[in-house]
Symmetry: C2
DNA sequence: GTCTATATACCGATAGAC
DNA sequence: GTCTATCGGTATATAGAC
């Protein structure tokens, strides 16, 4: 279960020209989409390479052509989530302005990334640390969380956040609320990504009470 | 992976008198405690019966004496969580009084159950519905969630909760915050169970903003 | 009530044909 | 680039001794 290096495959679209057999061919992105969906539905450990292959309408060997193994598919999926989240911290809005404004900006953008890369972030949030691939991803995620909690500390020092509850608990409840979106949000549902982001920020900062 | 009926074993304490071999004997509760801890650390699917046995310092066969199989251990663990949560709704404080007071009571008691039965509720919240045992547990959990969201609807109609965000989203964000406790709360840490319950209620109803 | 040994099945991964 | 066939390992579960 050690981490294996990625080998970049060439791009190829579903149904495009391919080898001499009659089957549709997939590029790595298509394989990854279906694989991550399967991981999320059944759990990583409970999903066999045969499951993945059968959902792709192909064989195990074809999957092994695109990725070096099951751990590699997991790693590639987790990377997509982490790249997105880390990208939020690099945006200008995360680096300039008052602490509470930067905090709101980062939380809002994080919600949008979570929704735009829903399957990948879902996978990330369910990782338990059983393998090197999972532990590496968890380390990157913890670093992201730490950066956000630094922002929360700043906003707290500014007097923008309540001080009757300790910062650590505040951070955790906030992340709990945001991360739970992966458990219920469906892109085909009635809520737009912006609506969810607005609602989360509103509830997080002002609570459930009627104003 | 079908659901198997439980066979109630007699109680027996660790290290108590037992069969003729030198090993310590366990009662079902002790087996279950260690099994559920293993399920939570490694994930249910990734935890083999050999893992469980070795954490108990015994053999696979000894585990099979106490439970009819891996699915049975899961079922028994999930029952402990669900019995606790459903018990909250039967308490007098959940049935009499103003809607917003009943809501706060139920949420507070749910947090306390979550903490008191932390490993079992953790297991429940990670179930994905791959087997009959998991699907049965998820159905019971959904019914609990539904009862609480009825309370939220009532409190909303009373004018106690904000109406600029739809009830469904409000419910989900609230549960997200509460359920996330299993990801970080440790009984040996600095926060008492009552402190966590107070903090959750405070943040949920009044938000993060300084008052 | 716990042990060792084993039946049976499925897992991830690879070989080699086409 | 995908196929079938298979390797070696590990899984759940059981049999039978003590």
């Amino acid at each position: 279960m050690a981490q294996t290096p990625a080998e970049s495959q060439e791009k190829r679209t579903v149904g495009g020209g391919n080898g001499r057999h009659g089957r549709a061919a997939y590029d790595l992105e298509a394989v990854l989409d279906i694989t991550v969906a399967a991981f999320n539905e059944r759990g990583y450990d409970a999903t066999s390479m045969d499951h993945v292959a059968s959902r792709l309408g192909t064989s195990k060997s074809a999957v092994y052509y695109h990725a070096s193994g099951k751990a590699d598919l997991l790693r590639l999926g987790l990377e997509r989530a982490l790249d997105g989240l880390e990208g939020v911290l690099k945006l200008p809005g995360a680096q300039r302005g008052a602490a509470d404004e930067r905090l709101k900006f980062v939380l809002r953008e994080a919600v949008l990334v979570l929704i735009d890369r829903l399957p990948y972030v879902t996978l990330l949030l369910r990782v338990r640390g059983n393998t090197d691939v999972e532990r590496d991803a968890m380390a990157r995620r913890r670093e992201f969380d730490r950066q956000v909690s630094l922002l929360i500390d700043e906003a707290r020092s500014d007097g923008s956040l309540r001080t009757d509850i300790d910062a650590r608990t505040l951070t955790r409840l906030l992340f709990g609320m945001i991360n739970s979106i992966v458990e219920w949000y469906r892109p085909e549902g009635p809520l737009s990504r912006e609506q969810v982001a607005d609602d989360v920020i509103a509830v997080a900062f002002d609570g459930l009470h009627a104003s």
